[in-house]
Amino acid sequence: MNKITLTACPECDLLLNPTQTVVGDKAHCPRCGYLLQRPSKQSIERTFALSIAGLILMFPANLMPLIGIKMLGNAKDGTLWSGVLALFEEHMWGVAVLVFLSSILFPLLNIILSLLISAHLYFNKPNRHLAHWMRWLQHIDEWAMLEVYMLGIIVACVKLSSTSELKFGFGLYAFVALLIVTGMLTSSLDKVLFWRQIGRLKP
């Protein structure tokens, strides 16, 4: 089978000749304006480094208290887990599962998959699961919602600030750092480059 060198726009299916983009360029579809590729500097190395940093930050962000409140002499700390558990105890199964998936499991999977893929690409090691991992990563990406959770924390703090005393825990700083790292991770991961490398490593 001869190799097909053409590409197509994912949103309007226009047949295109692949362009050689350099760092700083943006390749847009000429018909619908879809951002086809935006190469980033040292994409594989950066993704590798950032996913290690993210994995380390995952532990304090998940295990240490994010915010604590004091209300009429009662004190209480909240972690990512306690929000999920409290919803479970109130028999809000669906909401609890959704919060668990989008604030704990999918961000974790996102980082682990990025780490696995970028490590294999960095060390040039073929693996027959690479394409599966990359596919899962693309599907999970949308459902990891740490930045939305952060906004939720802010709104909850504003609501509570009038009636109770708030205390920010170390977990919150780790959470903010994790948020920044995952944001940088998403922007450094050049999907077109990753797929090309996965195709090259394919036995």
Binding site: R31, V99, I153, V155, K159
Partner: protein, 203 residues
């Protein structure tokens, strides 16, 4: 060089996951690079999107009429709907946060429901004008969907923090499940809609 022909018209199928092109004549239904299922367009895109959208419309009503949480303070319980929570924020003088919640939990879901309906009408009646603008609208809808989870995360934080028996307690209400379902269903609806259908109808 750019061709105004779509990949499908030239006999190519683009893989949804890795973006590589395959010849349509090839009998194998799997992508040679990543092993994903090959479809010229997302399978049953119109029907799936319409079904998900209809379910989301139905659940939008209980999401807004039932209480999303009940705030008990010193033994007096007070159920809040989504709009009630926003009015409470305005009354306590926190207008910017109230605007944020208004946008995230009322305007975004509503505009998403209407936007996806318009996209479906566009495809069904083969509207010719402004295909590029419709694609941009699709892109915005797919991007903003996740931010509606703000209210759900805020509730999970409040429920876990404000849990002090008779003194102060927040209990999630039935609308939380309905609202979470609306967010998830509209996200799936946006994901199952194939924007290439808009371009296929252009003459």
């Amino acid at each position: 060089m750019k061709s105004k022909k779509t990949a499908l018209a030239q006999g190519f199928i683009r893989c949804h996951d890795c973006g590589c092109l395959s010849k349509r004549a090839d009998k194998n239904r799997l992508c040679p690079l990543c092993g994903g299922q090959l479809h010229p367009r997302l399978p049953n895109s119109f029907q799936r999107t319409a079904a998900l959208l209809l379910s989301a419309f139905c659940l939008y009503i209980p999401a807004n009429t039932f209480p999303i949480m009940t705030v008990t303070s010193l033994g007096v319980g007070e159920p809040h709907t989504i709009i009630g929570g926003i009015i409470a924020l305005v009354n306590s003088g926190m207008v910017p946060i109230a605007l944020l919640v208004l946008v995230a939990s009322i305007l975004v879901p509503l505009l998403k429901l209407l936007g996806i309906s318009l996209l479906l009408l566009n495809v069904h009646y083969r509207w010719q004008a402004h295909a590029k603008k419709w694609t941009v609208m699709y892109r915005i809808i797919a991007f903003v969907g996740r931010w509606s989870m703000l209210d759900i995360f805020m509730i999970s934080i409040l429920v876990s923090l404000v849990d002090m028996g008779g003194v102060a307690q927040v209990i999630a209400g039935p609308a939380a499940t309905a609202f979470a379902a609306v967010v998830v269903l509209t996200m799936f609806a946006a994901k199952s809609f194939d924007p290439r259908l808009i371009w296929d109808n252009q003459r």
